[in-house]
């Protein structure tokens, strides 16, 4: 059953362009992330990591195969329903934080709620709670420019999980941070997963990927390995054995 999965990509192809110039960004990719699970995706540039995140977040559509968020197939939603699902279910964390510079930490975190029709008072209250959970209650009224990179990323994580969101998509969330601050961010993501949120993390940093429950290796648009599954060395000598 797919209903227990926070995110399922099932046999997904994504082809950019057509004919001779067609580029296969993803080829029959299957990845599933359960509630409470932190999954990291690693792979060289061009292996399809960004396409994967865009599809999982409903920012792009699969050429073939299914993408399901909390059991809802994104391909069957009209643009309006898709946008609503994105706002309700999916939170994003980016490498460069993407906070709105003219808004305070609390206002940044409250923004997705207000866009979703929550009135500003209850939105602020929930934002303050979310900031408290990332240890930033004291900095709620500070502007991003007056915060360190690590603090800004914690605000971004609070923004990603505020409300009832069940899926966090993180694109190199530690890329702009030093190693120790990056570790704090990973600790925080883990803590959110322990509360039942599912997270899919794309990273180049093996040290941070290792905080995940599973690490999936992407190559040429397909998952070649998964540290959660045991794969034997049988295939190793397939040519030499002949």
């Amino acid at each position: 059953m797919t209903t227990t999965r926070a995110l399922s990509l099932l046999g997904v192809d994504r082809i950019h362009g057509a004919g001779n110039s067609a580029v296969h960004a993803l080829r029959g990719l299957t990845i599933e992330v359960s509630a409470g699970e932190l999954v990291a995706v690693m792979g060289p540039s061009g292996s399809g990591k960004s396409t994967l995140l865009n599809l999982a977040g409903g920012l792009d559509r699969a050429t073939a195969g299914q993408v399901l968020v909390d059991g809802v197939e994104l391909g069957e939603l009209d643009p309006k329903a898709l946008a609503r699902l994105r706002r309700h279910k999916v939170g994003y964390v980016f490498q460069d934080f993407n906070l709105i510079p003219s808004l305070t930490a609390a206002e940044n975190v409250a923004l997705p709620l207000e866009l979703d029709g929550v009135r500003s008072r209850p939105a602020r209250q929930r934002a303050l709670l979310a900031l408290d959970e990332v240890g930033l209650a004291d900095l709620a009224d500070r502007l991003p420019q007056d915060m360190s990179g690590g603090q800004q990323q914690r605000v971004a994580i609070a923004r990603a999980v505020v409300g009832e969101r069940s899926l966090i998509l993180a694109d190199e969330p530690t890329g702009a941070l030093d190693s120790e601050t990056g570790e704090q961010v990973m600790r925080l993501l883990r803590a959110r997963c322990a509360q039942g949120v599912a997270a899919l993390l794309v990273t180049h940093d093996a040290g941070h990927a290792a905080w995940a429950d599973r690490v999936v290796f992407l190559r040429d648009g397909a998952a070649v390995d998964d540290t959660g599954s045991t794969s034997g060395p049988e295939s190793l000598l397939h040519e030499a054995a002949r």
Binding site: R190, A212, F217, S231, P233, L236, E239, A240
Partner: protein
């Protein structure tokens, strides 16, 4: 790993019994270098013979504590100040394995790299789990924390190196090219021209 120096460093804190030394050694290094009690007593006997430690008088239960001598302290200081050189470390089997794999006709080297990458990442995940579960190291666990971080950084470095190997291999011999069974590189011809080498690799 130098067991004699490890024991001297522990005895430099205070005199200890053999079983204490073993416990302290394991606490400092985690399960990384398990030490059996036989090794501890053999090493102590040798250190005593060489004047590096001295056995104290046995207590009523027949147990004996050992203390470090001035000569032992001298040895220890010299050890701490001398940098570890390449010759002190065991050779890295992985580097040798990959180097030989690159020469081996018909072997999918990318796949060798990938299998190692998964295994190393799994190890890194386990080490990270250990670190995760002990967020703030106490003073007592400081030594083990340092060892644990060392192991994590080594695993990270190995993964970076594997990425690099993969890139180098992809440029040198594209994965899609059928294995030729021949050599196309002059640099490798000496080794692989030797039939016994090829035999072993197969």
């Amino acid at each position: 790993m130098s067991i004699p120096h490890g024991l001297l460093a522990l005895l430099d804190q205070r005199p200890m019994y053999g079983y204490q030394l073993r416990a302290e050694f394991e606490r400092a290094t985690g399960a990384t270098w398990p030490l059996n009690i036989g090794q501890v007593y053999t090493t102590l006997t040798r250190l005593e013979r060489d004047g590096q430690v001295a056995g104290q008088a046995t207590d009523q239960e027949g147990r004996q504590r050992y203390e470090i001598t001035d000569a032992g302290r001298e040895t220890l200081r010299a050890w701490f100040t001398k940098p570890v050189t390449l010759g002190d470390r065991p050779r890295d089997e992985l580097a040798i394995k990959l180097a030989l794999a690159a020469l081996s006709p018909g072997l999918d080297v990318q796949s060798v790299v990938q299998h190692q990458r998964v295994a190393t990442m799994q190890r890194l995940q386990e080490l990270t789990r250990l670190k995760r579960d002990a967020p703030t190291p106490s003073a007592e666990d400081l030594a083990w924390t340092l060892v644990l971080d060392n192991l994590r950084y080594m695993a990270e470095a190995e993964l970076r190196w594997l990425d690099h190997c993969e890139g180098t291999l992809a440029r040198a011999r594209p994965a899609t090219a059928p294995p030729t069974g021949h050599l196309d590189s002059d640099a490798t011809s000496d080794l692989t021209a030797d039939p016994t080498t090829q035999e072993t690799l197969r």
